[in-house]
Amino acid sequence: MPISRKCVPFTPFDRELSKTTIAIVTAGGVHLKDQEAFNIADELGDLTYRVIPPEVDSSRLMVTHHHYDHSDADQDINVVFPIDVLRDLEAEGFIGGIAKKHIGYMGYTMQLKAMYEGTAHEIANDIDKGSRADAVVLTGG
């Protein structure tokens, strides 16, 4: 079955943005420098993900991903993982808050079924439990 025929899990949004807590989930291979790097040696990809805390200093983040040019993200992680930008929007009152968990994973994989039925559900559960996110912004590389 083509991916596009799967059910789309559309969740309505019924809050005010100024009272909304936001989490970031990125496929851009972002993780803390002291977390285990994604396995780019495996041609099938890496199905794991990393939890990034909200108070992280963005200079402590890095990218491990070999399927896009992340040299710009190496200079400023906000181009794929806008944690400092989110803080700006919180400070100006555009959003209500920043979630207690954010997620980085490496979007490249040859194991689509395992990503779709495994990793994606694990990430959603992790966000659902304990992040206090009301909505999620997704980014790729």
């Binding site: 596009s4 943005l17 993200a73 181009v79 555009f94 009301d134 790729g140």
Partner: protein, 85 residues
């Protein structure tokens, strides 16, 4: 789980459309690796994120994209195409 509303920022709209994301922003002409803009362009990054989050409050249809131009980004890039089999 009751579900969490999501909004996607993508620089590969044709590729992303295959998954029919509920809400999506395509910042027109941004290259891969520049979802929010270029390094250090904080005001542009703020605009892109505000525009993306604002889609949460608008009527959207899965698979359709809000395409927004940001002239301050500078040089434009063609997005990757889906290969026809």
């Amino acid at each position: 789980m009751k579900g969490i509303p999501t909004v996607l920022i993508t620089v590969s709209p044709e590729v992303s459309a295959q998954m029919r994301p509920p809400r999506a922003l395509y910042p027109k002409g941004f290259k891969i690796g520049n979802s929010l803009g270029r390094p250090g362009m904080r005001e542009l990054q703020q605009r892109v994120l505000r525009d993306a989050l604002s889609l949460l409050t608008q009527n959207t249809r899965p698979g359709e994209f809000a395409t927004i131009e940001y002239p301050e980004y500078g040089e434009q890039y063609e997005p990757p195409r889906v290969k026809k089999l």
